[in-house]
Symmetry: C2
Subunit: 420 residues, 2 copies
DNA sequence: GCAATTTGTTCAGTGGTTGAATTAAATGGC
DNA sequence: GCCATTTAATTCAACCACTGAACAAATTGC
């Protein structure tokens, strides 16, 4: 009766399709590469063999393939240890594939390049109010950033293996932006608009080069990326003009069946509360959305980019402004109520405050924690951690680029068998 | 720019560990068996080969192994089609392994046996009020049911491959029941108490024979099991004395990191509402829990098993009793508020009302739907379906037994390499 | 200088898939 | 009723990638 197996294990999807003969190598490439990626200290071939259960012979063969594909390099200085032939450490390559992360937001465009090791090799943010621009014009500007990012990647010897574009709105499975309220976009066919710009990336192994994804989801992945040893399951709340959330479970983004998960802004906080622009009453957004908080702090009608607004509010709070402090406490309490529901439902132990909330975390965390302590059934056993996001506005772009390189690590065969 | 790949695919965990040589067959056994299980019409070897991409030679070899292990049988009557040698249909075996499902609840014990095909081959429910009994006595009674179930399985030529026990409470990873409030259990070490009863099942391939799991989670799996072609992602709400929920995503139970997901009963509905027995204010349970609904319907203080109480309430509602109708409408509205939050967060399109709610679905569905329509951001694009559960009180036991056989289908090598 | 130790590679052996050829079992036209 | 046609399933040599053991390489310590 010793150890129990879990129902989660009951339905593990170890293989999606058939396992052909070549899949064996394909799968072991992923196993070995993942092992190399999983640690700080570069592991030796022998160590990998011992850890994974493969023979040293197999590991050597697999590593040869990985080195040939520039996914892995040997560490030059042999780490000095005891007796025996010194091990040669293996590192993720920093001249192989890289991911391109892009973001279109209300008041800025961003692009970044992340290499296999997770290092941000290029980063550019361009402040521009996109609301007056048409989607086509906005994307033309974005392509200029992407082109510079690609040049930077080329100069560094990196090959772009894919790109991810963050958009603050609902995106469907084909990359159509169904609704991005704060951008004023509706049914914008981003892939079609970008189709005329082949500069982005080339397809690799049949994998299309661009993903379009909700900004809050990619920002959550950015948090995952920024804390390699951190929790693998958490809720990342993006407090912008609207409130979105990215749900990360076991190191993977949970998108829902259509990718529309995480609409935390419209979780009911008080069913009899004020009417939200979505038509319902008492949504979280009516308590903790940027507009509501600014109004409560006496800054009604101020039209500011999210981070500037948050900065302004933080300054007020720092100076002890009572209206600002009250507004933040109320927002934090409402946020705590909504988040408590999430935690009760998903059994999470970490909540990350991102977007504008990161700047205001100092004032938001206490009331959020208070609600969590009171409302989460299991908080007595294991308390919930609430903390600000590790990255700022670049989170979504970095998260998107990181998702691209994580995909390479999860399935290196695609990169290795590329035409080039 | 054609088709987009999804972020979900970015983080697919195709392999957990190393892929040894024998894993190839192991994995293909699962691929082929899953294909056989996935359809009504028995597929031929050739059809499986075409679908999976394996060669007919490989499929034949794999099927031979499955037939030898009684996991698969050949359908006797050749399905008459066009020209050519007639195909021999392949079916899941009904004389191979089976799962044992058990349930301990407030007012009944249950046991059932489910074979690979999903058929319930044995079922027994024993009504008994467990609250006065000690956990040890309750489990002794349960073992008697389990023994009869095992005898029934043996008589039918089935081999029990594992058992799952549903408990209405929080269960930790080691099978310890941390808290089962309505049973009056706290820190009950179920595996230890059952260790003296070896009659349950024998271990198979190192997999321990018994899982202890939350009743709401297994009931959700029961719903999945009862509707083979139904949705693979849904929220299953169990309305008992407390309110639990099981979250099924892509055909798998989502348990959270510690298995404590689905505490819907303590999701806040109105932060200023009545105080709940958990200490917080305005939990769903204070509006839609059995006690609250009975009190609102004028049946305060009645201490009844969940299904009896629901039956009584349904009778009142049928007869047009205004207090009962109002109580149900209020409960449904509160339930709708809580469920709206869940749907906004997880992007689900189906909500199943189970437990006592199934009996009352006729009156609960309309207000739940009304709240969903008003509060779910994406309800305009794709409406949410709300419907009663397919199974009644037996849901958790059947779901647990089904989870055992699903595990066999997911990893048949464990059964095939068993000692016997 | 030599035994001990640990790493990494080489190589014959093997398990399981591959692909083509072959056999099996039916339909349909004449 | 016979034979070409068609589709299903099996057989078999070839091959791919892993296995295990032996071996070469590189260092420490006596």
């Amino acid at each position: 009766m010793a150890v129990l197996w879990h129902c989660q294990g009951v339905t593990d999807t170890r293989t999606a399709g058939a396992v052909r003969q070549g899949s064996l190598r394909e799968l072991n490439l992923a196993v070995v590469l993942r092992r190399i990626a999983a640690t700080d200290r570069p592991p030796s071939r022998a160590e990998i063999a011992a850890d994974t259960g493969l023979t040293r012979a197999t590991v050597s063969a697999v590593v040869d393939d990985l080195i040939a594909g520039r996914l892995v390099t040997e560490a030059d200085p042999a780490p000095r240890t005891g007796a025996g032939r010194p091990a040669r450490g293996l590192l993720l390559g920093d001249t192989g594939p890289a991911g391109l992360g892009l973001e279109v937001n209300v008041d800025y465009l961003a692009a970044c390049v992340v290499d296999l090791t997770g290092a941000v090799r290029h980063h550019e943010v361009r402040r521009v109010d996109l609301r007056p621009l048409s989607p086509a014009d906005a994307l033309t500007d974005l392509v200029a950033l992407a082109r510079r990012a690609r040049t930077a990647a080329d100069d560094a010897g990196l090959g772009l293996a894919g790109a991810a574009l963050a958009v603050p709105g609902l995106v469907d499975a084909r990359g159509l932006v169904r609704l991005a309220p704060n951008l004023g976009w509706r049914d914008v066919d981003v892939p079609a608009l970008l189709a005329g710009h082949p500069a982005l990336t080339d397809p690799v192994d049949g994998v299309p080069p661009l993903v379009v994804e909700n900004e809050a989801n990619l920002a959550a992945l950015g948090e995952l990326h920024a804390r390699p040893g951190g929790p693998q399951s958490f809720l990342h709340v993006s407090g912008e003009i609207g409130i979105g959330a990215g749900i990360v479970l076991d190191g993977a983004l949970f998108r829902g069946s259509r990718g529309w998960s995480g609409e935390l802004g419209h979780v009911p906080v008080d069913p009899g509360g004020p009417t939200c622009r979505c038509g319902a009453r008492g949504c979280l957004e009516t308590y903790a959305g940027q507009e509501a908080v600014l109004a409560a702090a006496g800054l009604a009608g101020v039209d500011l980019p999210a981070d500037t607004a948050a900065r302004r509010l933080a300054d007020l709070a720092c100076s002890g402004d009572p209206a600002a402090l009250d507004a933040l406490h109320a927002a934090g309490t409402a946020l705590g109520v909504a988040v408590s529901g999430v935690v009760n439902l998903l059994d999470l132990d970490t909540v990350v405050l991102g977007g504008g909330y990161a700047t205001l975390a100092q004032w938001l965390c206490p009331p959020v924690l208070a609600e969590l302590d009171a409302r989460v059934l299991t908080s007595g056993w294991s308390p919930v951690t609430v903390r600000p996001a590790a990255l700022g506005a670049e989170s979504a772009a970095v998260g998107g680029a990181g998702a691209v390189v994580r995909r390479i690590i999860a399935r290196p065969s695609g990169w290795l068998s590329r035409p080039g």
